[in-house]
Amino acid sequence: MAVTIAKERWTSKVAEMVIGPNDLKLGGESTLSFLHFEGAMPNRPVTSLEVFDMEPEDWPDMLKEAYAGVMNDPVAWAKKVVEYGADAVTLRLMSAHPDWKNASADEVAKTAKAVADAINVPLIVLGCGVEEKDGEILPVVAEALAGKKVLIGCVTANNYKSITAACNGYGHNIIASSPLDINLCKQLNILINEMGLPLDRVGFDPSVAGLGYGIEYAYSIMERARVGALTGDKTLATPVVCFVGENTWKAKESIAPDVVEWGPLHDRAILWEVTTAITFANAGGTVFIMRHPESLKRFNAFIDEAYKSNAY
């Protein structure tokens, strides 16, 4: 008896977002990840490496070695990231953090502009993570980057208003962040959309956790969001942004050098980041923000294979 290939007939798709000077497209999937035989994945997942606007003292040696010589110069660091093969540069404005340098909005906006001007790939700009401070600095950063079509984040239910208004006015896209909660995520998307920013300019940050530290929660949320998107829930049909590097480079498996039973540090640290990224690629992630260039390279090799058509 002949085998019939079971193909799901999805009725809808993820919104397609356009970012950067090269109009890089992302999202737009009308199928589950890499199931090319029952739908389209029109755009390759987007990879990025992080650049800090000041030297991050708490980074492990493996990361510091990869960016030796450029960590005091965000522009040079950004160029290095492009050299390493990232699709986009992610600039984290850590100097604005009240516990770090408490830099002003104008200071960080100047850095963001300098970085954006120096690269010809899309820029993703992140605040320092303190909701109140990000609500102050990110609108100023958005203004300084007018017309560059950057992806700005992360906004929360507590600070989305000022940042959304600025992103809308200056032609940017936004990353909406919710604490591993699909209901809050959906609600935040709705609130942002109600301010007039179209849903194809919103990315969804589910606040992922890395391998071994709650990855399965993030995995199932992403999967649920994708199925929602494919079955017609437009408020969930936004591309998913995964902060992979941020969450794997704090795992003890990525930094403890002398645990004999875990094997050599270098291998496990890279694999911790790559495995986390691949897991989320399968769950429906779209933008992957990583930290180590070697992880990026290996993850890209995976995408190269998975992105090949398996249509029947």
């Binding site: 699909i182 809050l184 959906k186 609600q187 649920r224 969001a225 437009k234 408020t235």
Partner: protein
């Protein structure tokens, strides 16, 4: 997702009858827009009883065109006049819904091929020339006949909307639970399962406080597998009930604005 079939564009209502008589599309368009805003997924189109059989053909095509000029929604073409049915299907944009066949062989043999030809979905009532069945079992037996015949004509179960028939609670009270049980069993008949629908307002015919009866039955029916209903999309409490039942049944992902979002699909 739960599909509301808006029942308002029906020549039985005075303003629609006037629209038909005067060839004035205004009221038809208004009701199309209003029902779309209320969350309708399909617009039921019924010429009503006034026109002759011959006139219905042209009127149906005109009503479908007027409705679809106003909103981007598919129509449920609601008539027992097969010529009018086909006229409506011919002018319809997108996937239409034929409303309705029954388990009478002669009807199935005309309407199922028509659904296949126009790639339309079809509502099929679990009754035949002997009338409305009394028990859930009898309703399901007819549902199975509908499903087998639809399959024979190449219609997918997901395009088949089986209606187990709802009768007024004040005069046919014993039918209430039978229809619910039939809904539950119909969803088990095939994989993928057929869809289900009901003419919701029937449950409350000539009873006091109809809206309360309607929305209570809607929630109960959605709990046992109701996928759609021909209903009053303008009844805000009723649509809120559908939105809430859909959330409680985990058919739509919860968010605080779920009531509002339900109407924006």
């Amino acid at each position: 997702m739960f599909e509301i079939i808006g029942e308002r564009i029906n020549g039985m209502f005075l303003d629609i009858r006037e629209a038909i008589v005067n060839k004035d599309p205004k009221n038809v368009r208004n009701w199309a827009v209003k029902q779309a805003e209320c969350g309708a997924y399909w617009l039921d189109i019924n010429t009503g009883p006034v026109a002759s059989k011959e006139e219905q053909v042209e009127i149906m095509a005109w009503l479908v065109k007027c409705a679809q000029e106003a909103v981007d929604l598919p129509c449920a073409i609601d008539t027992t006049n097969w010529a009018a049915m086909e006229a409506g299907l011919k002018v319809h944009k997108g996937k239409a819904l034929i409303n309705s066949a029954t388990a009478e062989q002669a009807k199935m043999d005309v309407l199922f091929p028509m659904a296949a030809k126009y790639e339309a979905s079809i509502v099929a009532l679990a009754m035949n020339e002997k009338g409305v069945p009394k028990s859930a079992d009898d309703r399901c037996a007819l549902a199975m006949e509908l499903l087998a015949n639809a399959d024979g004509y190449g219609i997918s179960p997901v395009d088949l909307y089986i209606d187990p028939l709802v009768l007024p609670v004040n005069v046919a009270q014993e039918h209430g639970p039978e229809s619910l049980e039939a809904l539950r069993q119909i969803k088990l008949l095939s994989n993928p399962s057929p869809k289900t629908t009901i003419g919701l307002s029937n449950i409350s015919q000539k009873a006091p406080n109809r809206p309360l009866i309607n929305r209570t039955y809607l929630a109960m029916a959605m709990c046992v597998g109701l996928d759609s209903a021909i209903m009053d999309a303008e009844d805000a409490d009723l649509v809120d009930t559908a939105a809430t039942a859909s959330i409680i049944m985990n058919q739509t992902i919860y968010c605080d604005s779920y009531i509002k979002i339900f109407r924006q699909r």
